[in-house]
């Protein structure tokens, strides 16, 4: 009970002072002029009118959104880091990892003699403004830059995670865990997954009228429920936007324009990392290369968006700080760098690329991406015990595979092809760039619908199960990689169905 009232207080606190709050007040005041309002029943009448005009629904959606990003409940005396991540050894590993990344970034900065941030001269600002819609035509010299880290670096950190209280015997038994992740976290097994209604029904045209209702009702929670079945292509953009409660109000557009202005005025070192990443990944993809310009427009703004710092309330990571020389040169103060606290890594732009299929107004695309990042994607590269965190997902993948295809797992292990080494890159990117776009969007429908990334781990297992026969024949890591190199022909929902239902009996 106490938790609930604490949450309610928190949400009320957060919503106070937002634009929605002032709009509601305004609407309520306007209601007072209406003839139907009676003094005796003032409160009820105003509420009724707000409901009829759709404002109550907007408030509901806003509350619903806040529930998604509420920090985890904790003891009032516990320090925030403990609430965000209760396991001390995880916190420690995360801190060390952050130190490494920051060191790498700073040393690149020193080596290349490029400042972390620099104000652009007026001429350059003008040029950039003119070229804003075609930044992809720029060919800056990026050869000196290297990504700060790549998934293959990150996996080593996760593999090295150890609970100091856990004595792990060296013997490999049937009961022991054969995979790379050496920590024990509570992850859902297949029976538990199946009991969540993961049934997959094909949307039929009989439901078409329902789709239209959903959009006209503007109900976040209903849209989220609906998305569990997969969204029809023609309505996905609206439904996702509804689920994430992203609007394209004047305030959102203004906010985006402000970010754009920040990009124009200052050049950040991380911008080069973004350019490099886009050029290396999305630009080389047959389906995403057209969206190159949009990716810059989103990611450069994203780096400068301090509103993203809010997600560190529940993200166990800490925003990296760098020392910036003050104007007088005498002091050094630590500021968050980059401003949004997120250092991009190799493949980061692939979180944005699929969204370009749905949204082409940069401010809209931006809002949706940002919300997806602060709800889901951040968990894929920070070390925590959260069920949707990367550690849990990797562990879940390994456990599912070991439980259901022990022979395959054992075989792969023997030939030096630990399954996680192959699946990790899919999980970190939530399969973006590996599945064909239409299939990827169907997968992300479910991430939104179930508010969890677990389906990514389940899909990774299902892929191995699907190609098990071929995998049993391989004799090296390289050949295992080859069998699993091309996922572009896979159909996500049938694969999941076969895995979840055929194997759960």
């Amino acid at each position: 009970m106490m938790d609930e009232s604490v949450s309610i207080t928190q949400i009320v606190q957060r919503l106070k002072g937002t634009n929605l709050h002032s709009q509601l007040e305004k609407q309520a005041k306007e209601c007072l002029h209406k003839p139907e309002i009676k003094l005796e029943t003032l409160k009820d009448d105003v509420r009724r009118l707000l409901k009829a005009s759709g404002w109550e629904r907007k408030l509901q959606n806003a509350v619903y959104r806040e529930l998604h990003i509420l920090p985890p409940p904790g003891h009032p005396r516990a320090p925030p880091e403990h609430t965000k991540e209760p396991l001390a050894y995880m916190r420690k590993t995360q801190v060390n990892w952050e130190k490494r990344i920051l060191k790498s970034l700073n040393s690149m900065c020193t080596e290349l003699g490029i400042p972390l941030a620099r104000k652009r001269p007026v001429a350059e600002q003008k040029e950039l403004t003119n070229k804003w819609n075609e930044m992809g035509t720029d060919e800056p010299d990026l050869s000196k830059f290297r990504p700060v880290y790549a998934p293959k670096d990150f996996i080593e950190v996760l593999v090295g995670l150890k609970n100091p209280n856990n004595e792990r015997s060296e013997d490999l038994t049937v009961r022991s865990h054969w995979g790379l992740i050496q920590v024990s976290l509570n992850v859902r097994d297949i029976l538990q997954m199946v009991s969540l209604p993961f049934f997959i029904s094909l949307p039929s045209i009989f439901l078409m009228s329902r789709h239209k209702e959903l959009v006209s009702e503007q109900d976040s929670a209903a849209a989220q429920q609906y998305s569990r079945q997969g969204c029809p292509t023609g309505l996905r953009a609206q439904l996702w936007s509804l689920i994430l409660n992203t609007t394209n109000d004047p305030e959102d557009i203004t906010h985006y324009e402000q970010l754009k202005a920040r990009v124009i005025h200052h050049d950040l070192l991380v911008d080069n990392l973004i350019y490099k990443d886009v050029k290396l990944t999305a630009s080389n993809d047959d389906y995403y290369f057209v969206f190159e310009d949009y990716l810059y427009q989103v990611l450069l703004c994203f780096s400068r968006d301090t509103a993203v710092l809010e997600h560190f309330n529940y993200n166990c990571a800490t925003p990296p700080k760098s020392c910036i020389q003050s104007k007088s040169g005498s002091e050094q103060c630590a500021v968050v760098y980059p401003p949004n606290g997120v250092i991009p890594f190799h493949g980061f732009s692939m979180y944005v690329a699929p969204l370009c299929f749905l949204y082409n107004e940069p401010s809209k695309l931006y809002s949706v991406f940002r919300e997806m990042y602060i709800r889901y994607f951040f968990r894929l590269h920070s070390i925590s015990s959260h069920p949707s965190g990367i550690v849990s997902l990797c562990l879940q993948f390994e456990r599912l595979l070991q439980t259901h295809l022990p022979q395959l797992f054992y075989h792969l292990r023997e030939i030096g092809a630990q399954p996680l080494r192959i699946a990790f890159k899919w999980i970190v990117r939530a399969f973006s760039g590996y599945l064909s776009t239409d299939q990827l969007l169907l997968l992300w429908d479910r991430i939104l619908g179930y508010d969890s990334l677990e389906i990514v781990a389940v899909l990774a297992t299902a892929v191995f199960v699907f190609r098990a026969e071929n995998l049993m024949e391989v004799t090296s890591l390289a050949s295992a990689e080859a069998v699993l190199a091309d996922l572009s022909t896979l159909k996500v929902m049938p694969l999941l169905q076969i895995f979840l239902f055929a194997t759960s009996v």
């Binding site: 819609n133 075609e134 035509t137 045209i205 009989f206 029809p232 292509t233 023609g234 309505l235 996905r236 953009a237 630009s283 080389n284 047959d286 389906y287 290369f289 057209v290 969206f291 190159e292 310009d293 949009y294 370009c356 299929f357 749905l358 082409n360 064909s436 776009t437 239409d438």
Partner: protein, 437 residues
């Protein structure tokens, strides 16, 4: 003419024989044994053992180029079962000037017989004039719309060669000086006619880039007209962002891969193509299901009417079939425009995916041509091909009761799922001795 990507193709040196001609044993009984190999492997791999090169005239199936056709068709005697991949005067549809002439004439007839509304369904090609013969009416039209951009295309060239854009008459005045050639000279290789066409200045752009669509239509007979539409196809993107300010930059405006390949930006690994399915998904996500459904219906209309316009002109021949490559451009209002029709669509592949598409396309073409006589002739779908027109519109068998029985759904599925393997397995279950009707 051979698919260039197959390096296994070392067809034994032709003597003076025609290119790409495959013989089989003359006897009918022997045919299935040999041809089956040819068909199932498709002729790219037919370099292997069971097919031998042949001398003039001794073939059952000829995938020839238009040059050979022009020289030899009239002198060849073809037995009943023989098949050849072009119609004698295919150029009525595929030469830009003749296509325009036929379309204009068809439109006029339609207007006379069925009224304005029906005729307006033919308004899918931009205003075009054949030069030099229509030079004067072209100038009149040009002057009526000052500032608009026009595109000049040589009549018989392909792959973007010889095309240029212009806005001022003086850009082509010099050309006109040489332009007073006689009609007979048109047939000669050196002399070219041109068409001047209103340039579509508001193409539909994806992420600032222009693209056009390549769609495949197979015609197995003109009288009666029987045409099939392939579900796969692709969108070819221009490598650079679209802008009207640089009409000299032909790289921007021409989306043919052949031209793109010489663009300084071109990265062969990049792939300037999207599969039709991808494009259809993208458009549906942007504009909704119904809008895109309507768009594709309009595209079907282009195929059907363009074929109807030459139906009476093309010399029908039961030995002939033809696989056309249609180039379609979309404008910002999602209206499709016909750019041109190719009788010999390129079969070279720019990527693995492209190779697979063209391989499947050819394989299904051979299934429809059906040299082994495995089909009944009543099929509405063979592999990736859907029967689009069979002396009249073709509708799907699946009735959608919820939408009412009055709603007939066209049997075309451009950009839809192509589960051809499954369909072919069911269709071609061995039925020995089955005759084609």
């Amino acid at each position: 003419m051979f698919p260039v990507w197959c390096n296994k193709l070392t067809l034994k040196q032709q003597t003076a024989g025609p290119k790409g001609a495959y013989s089989s044993q003359k006897k009918k009984e022997g045919v299935s044994a040999v041809l089956l190999r040819c068909v199932s492997l498709c002729f790219m791999l037919a370099s292997c053992i069971h097919v031998s090169p042949c001398s003039d005239g001794d073939w059952d199936f000829n995938w020839c180029d238009v040059g050979w056709l022009r020289e030899n068709f009239d002198h060849s005697y073809m037995e009943e079962h023989v098949r050849i991949c072009h119609f004698r005067n295919h150029y009525e549809l595929t030469r830009k000037n003749l296509m325009v002439k036929n379309l204009k004439r068809y439109r006029k007839t339609l207007e006379r017989e069925a009224g304005r509304l029906e005729a307006s369904k033919c308004d899918f090609f931009p205003c075009t004039f054949v030069l030099p013969s229509e030079y004067h009416i072209f100038v009149e039209e040009f002057k009526r719309s000052p500032g608009s951009t026009w595109i000049m295309k040589p009549v018989a060239r392909s792959q973007g060669k010889g095309i240029f854009l212009f806005r001022k008459l003086k850009d082509i005045i010099d050309w006109k000086k040489d332009g007073s050639r006689s009609e007979e000279q048109k047939e000669e290789a050196q002399v070219e006619s041109y068409v001047a066409q209103r340039y579509i200045e508001n193409p539909y752009l994806i992420a600032g880039r222009k693209f056009d669509l390549r769609v495949y239509v197979l015609v197995t007979s003109y009288i009666p007209l029987k045409a099939w539409l392939y579900r796969d196809g692709f969108a070819r993107f221009s490598n650079t962002r679209f802008s009207l300010s640089s009409i000299d930059d032909q790289y921007v405006h021409l989306t043919n891969v052949a031209v793109q390949k010489t663009s300084p930006d071109y990265d062969p690994e990049k792939g300037c193509k999207w599969q039709m399915q991808q494009l259809r998904q993208y458009l549906t996500a942007k504009h909704g299901f119904e809008t895109v459904q309507t768009l594709f219906k309009e595209i079907d209309n282009i195929f059907i009417r363009s074929l109807l316009s030459v139906q009476k002109t093309i010399i029908n021949d039961k030995h002939c079939f033809e696989l056309y490559g249609y180039d379609i451009l979309l404008d910002q209002d999602l209206k499709p425009w016909l750019i041109e029709v190719n009788a010999s669509p390129s079969l070279t592949a720019s990527s693995q995916e492209d190779y697979e598409l063209k391989y499947r396309l050819l394989e299904d073409t051979l299934h429809i041509v059906d040299m082994e006589g495995r089909l009944t002739g009543k099929e509405k779908r063979v592999g990736g091909f859907d029967l689009m027109w069979n002396d009249g519109p073709v509708y799907t068998d699946v009735g959608l009761e919820t939408l009412g029985s009055s709603c007939l759904v066209a049997n075309t599925h451009l950009g839809c799922v192509n589960d051809r393997q499954k369909q072919l397995q069911q269709l071609l279950k061995p039925f020995p001795g089955q005759k084609r009707t």
